[in-house]
Subunit: 549 residues, 2 copies
């Protein structure tokens, strides 16, 4: 894994096969992508602190997991020091390394995790659970002033599907499994978990649970909170075991307290999760709407009740234009078809192409079910002026959906800051939040005197509301600290969320990035309850201290 | 409300219009329903303790809600002293009154609730929130040895739907509203909440939330946990306000901590809940299955995915026979049709009538949707040998569904104990739990030397499992303490649940009745987490002490 960016060494985003992208970026950000790039600091120049690892603790950890799985290697420690928030990427590239963990341990079983936790408690050390390291909310970094030894517990060896109960459609799965490996193991027996966050390739089941994640097909499969039925969590006060029952009335749900707990209550070792038979058919269709408001209204009608779809995604006009600009080299036929389409849209349908929005709707199930749903959805979207543009764009979207996170590194190479903020709110507030956030972001760009770009899509629909997912980018003022200017824009957007009835995050968690809006979101008594829970179960603050509250 | 039984004075269950019931009860319980009945102790003979209400507290409460809404009336206090668990009914009938609250207050607003709570904290008193008083898990009774003043806070004046956001399909509703009044207010604007527990007539929104309730149509509408989007809760540390967002990733969810909290975290004053448009069509169809296992297998297949139904209910053979025995006086045509049907089932379909099971499946939505779902379900149930018997039984079931709780009083009058226990588990465990529970109950009956009856139905289906709802009845040994013998049977059933992977309750909560199985269900660390939460937020144990843990 790259210590300075997203994904594996060697994998990266490129504009070279996307002829319209460079002109687009020049237009909207005033940036020439061909400009000289700035590489991250070289590994050799990085000043990695010497680990503080008392002999007794080291012996205990080696006893717990064997010496082969106790690492003080500097690269290993730096990779485990942080997640992939923009702030973290910028700092890593600069060589501004944080309070790097003193040791990385890789337990191979729940018993080994228990032994690691006991060793840590005995030594008065700090434990930070590490799944895929893809957090973009600052959930993984030790506090800068942490004087105690810091242990990163990498769960990657716990990567098995232990059992599938086909009658109940439940699978017992170890928490450290990565998305593709999970789907591969389930797929071999004809099942799918159906959880596909953008981070899918580099994130784990335990990480999804610890952050209350959502995936691209969650409209059909449910968010991770819905999919997770039973849990095993190693805590300082024993191994928490909740039963994999479909529903229960046992007081405040301790299973739900673990969802979103970001390693503060213990280390999730295993979950029993809902799985489904791989559907006969999976299909994503593209649609064009005259305006963003039309697209949102259509998704709201679809969410009303009788249709069942797997993906509802509507890009606003700026994101639609970005999507079109990332098309790979079109053939002559592509170009002719595209010209015929735009002519049709403008002349026959009266579309204003600058306002047009691209949407995707996903269908899954039997051939018959998919056909019925397509027809039912077709009736609804037609009422909102949509035109179905078929399967092509959906196939493309499906292929490149996990590549998006690489773009941030590509832009950072060119000294452009790009990041995301997402939220959820009732349907009645969607357009208002969209407008207010746009105004806040462009006010922030103006304040900084930069040329910025903001784009947005609806990413999940529910009966009562939806998730809006914003992406913003700008080149900071020459000579300015990118982090300072980034904070101005990011804060303006987050503040607009909480000031307008939306939540600080729909599925990216709190971490340290969003912690300062928590009280405004869940009210002061809500923060009291969270503190009460954390302080009483971990009075010594050994478990990922400083996150959430 | 009856101080000694279910529902309002005057309403009651009778066998007189059900000609087959008396012979049925004689056969299965050995009891003659025509025998001399035992009435509860007369009100005049009840020894209600004098309230302990310090002057300062009384003045403060009168200041908070005005004197008109502060009651020390003995009947009022006795009605608020307990819920309606069998144990509580038996004790009330005997005149064995508990630690009756010293005062009943009826606040009219959230501000008044805050003032009541402050008055209670200042005086070192105990506060027990009271909705409809229909709890059957012992969630409402003050500890017998409670020396502090006990205040029952009756929420019935907070009974308004405050606002409906039609765009978002969300309603802001005060917590004290009763089921029928809620549906009436929503119905006037074309909406329904869709939450219909057996207790519907005598339970409130706040009570449903505080106990994690489910209703009969929850398969379509969701359990109360799904329906409740935002909350307002008056706590000792301020008013907790969670936003009515469709989903959020703000650490462990404080909204979810309130679900099932049984008044231990504060007093729920208001919720913003999901509502739906009243469907064009609502229909419940009856089906007959050759065996219970066939019925369960059919529901499992329906829950797999593509059908959407509102009710899935399958009675086992004993409950089916009970249902048939509660038919009101049949006409000659009914009898002829019924005879033709049984002949057809036996001769043409090979049904063993002693094993036959009655099922209901509910459909809601547009005419077209209902027709499509009926057809899809029809294909599935046919595979499991079912015969559709049309709308008649469903209409009957729908009419009498809220009358069931009256039967316990009818039987207690005849010295017969009858009660329920319900649970949830994965599909693969359903038949095993059913068998093990049956064996445990009949072993308990044998141990007591009584003739007992156990019956069961599947009441809710989910993708991964279902709820089984057991009802048992027996006449205790002559001279025995009914509560002691009741405990033998009830405990055997509950223990069989937790010993076999099922939960202690799917939707009736923990209270005091189920508290002793909590650790076996959610594990010792789960109990540590609940205690941590309660102790840290209410160190003085002023809020409904002794419940859940």
């Amino acid at each position: 894994m790259k210590w300075w960016g997203w994904g594996l060494e060697g994998a990266q985003f490129t504009h070279e096969d996307k002829p319209e992208l460079a002109p687009f970026i020049r237009k909207v950000l005033g940036v020439d992508v061909g400009r000289a790039t700035t590489a991250p600091i070289r590994w050799a120049d990085l000043d990695v602190p010497v680990p503080t690892l008392p002999d007794g603790l080291r012996v205990a950890l080696e006893h717990a997991v064997t010496a082969a799985f106790v690492s003080v290697d500097p690269l290993d420690r730096v990779v485990h020091a942080r997640g992939k928030s923009l702030r973290e990427l910028i700092r890593q590239r600069r060589g501004d390394v944080p309070r790097v963990p003193d040791v990385v341990v890789r337990p191979g079983s729940e018993d080994e995790i228990t032994a690691v936790l006991q060793a840590a408690l005995t030594a008065g050390a700090v434990i930070i659970a590490f799944g895929g390291g893809s957090s973009i909310s600052g959930s993984l970094e030790a506090p800068a002033d942490e004087l105690r030894p810091v242990i990163s517990v990498d769960l990657a060896r716990l990567n098995k599907v232990l059992a599938i109960d086909g009658t109940s459609r439940l699978a017992r799965v170890q928490a450290g499994v990565f998305g593709p490996h999970l789907e591969e193991q389930l797929g071999a027996q004809g099942y799918t978990f159906g959880h596909f966050p953008d981070s899918f390739t580099y994130s784990t089941l335990g990480g999804w649970i610890a952050t209350r994640s959502s995936g691209m097909q969650s409209d059909a499969y449910g968010d991770i909170a819905d999919l997770t039925k039973g849990l095993r969590v190693v805590t300082p006060f024993g191994t928490l075991i909740t039963r994999p029952v479909p529903a229960t009335s046992t007081g405040p749900s301790v299973r739900e307290m673990v969802l979103g707990s970001e390693g503060r209550l213990g280390i999730i070792t295993e979950a029993t999760v809902q799985v489904r038979r791989i559907p006969e058919r999976r299909e994503i269709l593209g649609y064009l709407f005259p305006t963003f408001a039309d697209g949102l209204a259509a998704m709201r009608d679809i969410a009303a009740g009788e249709c069942s779809v797997s993906v509802t995604r509507v890009s606003d006009a700026p994101e639609t234009q970005f999507s079109f600009a990332t098309r790979t080299r079109p053939t002559l036929i592509d170009r002719l078809q595209s010209r015929a389409l735009t002519t049709y849209l403008q002349r026959r349908r009266g579309f204003d192409l600058s306002q047009m929005c691209l949407a995707f709707i996903g269908y899954e199930g039997s051939e018959r079910h998919v056909a019925e749903q397509r027809q039912a959805v077709g009736t609804i979207v037609k009422r909102h002026g949509a035109l179905c543009i078929g399967r092509g764009p959906g196939v493309l979207y499906d292929q490149k959906k996990f590549d998006t996170p690489y773009i941030r590194d590509f832009l950072l190479d060119r000294r452009v800051a790009a990041d995301v903020s997402e939220t959820a709110m009732p349907w009645s507030q969607l357009m208002r939040v969209y407008d207010v956030v746009s105004a806040a972001a462009y006010r922030a760009f103006a304040e900084l005197g930069v040329q910025g770009y903001l784009m947005c899509h609806l990413s999940h629909s529910y009966h009562v509301g939806a998730c809006l997912y914003f992406t913003f980018a700008f080149e900071p003022t020459p000579g300015a600290d990118m982090i300072v200017e980034y904070d101005v824009v990011k804060s303006a957007i987050q503040q607009a969320f909480v000031d307008n009835g939306a939540t600080l995050s729909h599925h990216h968690a709190v971490g340290t990035e969003h912690a300062r809006w928590l009280e405004q979101d869940i009210s002061a008594p809500g923060v009291v309850m969270l503190r009460a829970l954390f302080d009483a179960t971990d009075p010594g603050r050994h478990l990922n201290p400083g996150k959430i509250v």
